[in-house]
């Protein structure tokens, strides 16, 4: 029984097909950025509503949040894929920039995956913001109100800037979760990094290179999470409020 069949020829196979993985990476990055953006745009107001909102609006935001957080992401992705009438944008042409050859992906799978990952991320980001907003002591809001700022102005100038800073660690966490979970768009055949890797090792020429391909794919994910985490660490330090220590 041969253990770990890592052969030179298999690495060469990865080497000659690297552009396929790069195309996958392109889609992964697109999906990650799109989902996080959607997550922020929906999650930030969501968090604010959970703290400051009243009545039915708040209940709805909370309820939807629980549903999104309680359902597996793969189920959400297939639900958004099969359950929503996406406009038929056909195949989306991507790449074409040297040295990445042009390619096309399924537009509806892209929309559904972005919606599922983005809205689920919004449900988590709203919790990050909610916690950050609540961690800012009431006194500052009172102080802002007592120099004559309206409630909205006080929240905007006093609570939001501090809450955003305190949310950075939560974002960091959320970023890595979304990045890794883009691989689950595999379920609807979206040609992101892991799917492209899967396609590579299931074709006849790639069948002996399975380990090499998946390790390469994993390494790319790892480098991405690692680099982004370091970058966000720097962002956090850059915007940190001096403490005098």
């Amino acid at each position: 029984m041969d253990i770990l069949p890592l052969q030179a020829g298999d690495w060469a196979f990865v080497g000659t097909n690297w552009w396929i993985l790069m195309q996958g990476l392109y889609v992964t990055v697109l999906l990650t950025v799109g989902s996080l953006l959607l997550g922020f745009l929906a999650g930030f107001p969501g968090g604010a509503i959970e703290v400051y909102g009243r009545g039915p609006l708040r209940s709805v935001v909370r309820g939807v949040g629980v549903l999104l957080r309680g359902t597996p992401i793969v189920v959400l992705i297939v639900l958004f894929f099969f359950g929503v009438q996406w406009p038929d944008i056909g195949a989306v042409p991507l790449g074409g920039l040297l040295p990445l050859p042009a390619f096309e992906i399924n537009g509806q799978a892209l929309l559904a995956s972005t919606a599922a990952l983005g809205l689920r991320s919004a449900a988590y980001q709203s919790q990050v913001f909610r916690g950050a907003i609540r961690s800012i002591d009431e006194g500052q809001l009172e102080a802002a109100r007592s120099v004559g700022l309206s409630k909205l102005e006080a929240v905007r100038h006093v609570v939001v800037p501090q809450a955003l800073r305190r949310s950075i660690p939560g974002f960091q966490n959320e970023f890595t979760i979304v990045l890794k979970d883009t691989s689950i768009a595999f379920a609807v055949g979206l040609a992101e990094l892991l799917t492209r890797g899967f396609e590579l090792f299931t074709q006849p020429a790639g069948q002996t290179a399975v380990v090499e391909i998946i390790l390469t794919v994993s390494a790319i994910y790892f480098v991405l999470t690692f680099l982004t985490n370091r970058t966000l660490d720097r962002v956090e330090n850059r915007f940190a409020i001096p403490t005098g220590e």
Partner: protein, 325 residues
Amino acid sequence: MTDRRGRGVDVGDLPGARRLVLVGVGVLFWGWLLARWLHDWVLAPDVNTSDREPFVPPARLEAVAEQLHDLAAGAGAAAGLLEWLAGGVEFAAFGVDSMPALAAGAWITVYLTVLSILLGLMIAIPLAVARTYGGPVLRWIALSYTELIRGTPLLAQLFVLYFGLPTTRYIREFHGVGEGFVPYAAIWVAVIGFTINSSAYQAEYIRSALQSVDPGQLVAARSVGLSRLEGIRYVVLPQGLRYAIPGWTNELVYLVKYSSLAAFITVPELFRAARNIGSDTFRVLDIYLVAALFYLALVLTLSVAMSRFEAAVAIPGVGSASERD
């Protein structure tokens, strides 16, 4: 205690009245699920999954839907509402029809989760202790392991184990795999994958919990004559593990949801069971909605149960149960 490196998977708190409703639904749901499992293995163990009958005959619901349709035909203004109602009952009939198959899938989901979290915990505790109290080499090894696992997608890890390495081949050589109550190879691959993945995350939760135990505690333990390891074992861990319960709840909920990825390495758990029904009946959207509700029932009851557990093992001043509002 908010863990900045956690997976952030808690479902959030629910207001009191809704919590009560949830407990009611939870009791009903688990009562049914346990009855179902008991019935399928003990009372009718030889019936194929696809031939099992639901407890509530779906034909009765279909008849109701039929009547509603008839009513709607002659109802004029209220027709829309009645049609909508009929649609709801039809959905319920379909859901009921698929319950035996989903219950069988849920059984795999549940034991995948339970096995993986327990086995993962057994790896996570030494990992966390190594990272907190170990020497430079031990710390570095533990750090590399957790960072590598946490930096790559779970699905990629499952693919490495299932498609990449000859894991299944080794497992099949064990006597009895796939016979009787012993699950077959793909399930074991999934258990191994989830265990490894979960151990890295649990180690992080436990590490940050250990760090929140006052260092004076270990000093005090040493001063009564305990060795360093004994001090960790008898003083630090019992406190630290209590601090880790919220993180551990997150992890449990996370595993319930992400065990669905085992579907892609052929494990017939809940999500794959739903997918199979979808491709048989072509009612893809309906079955995924049923599956979503099924997962929600598992996840929500679990998080309520865990917060009960946390309160039950709480010691005044240790852990976070008492600080919650």
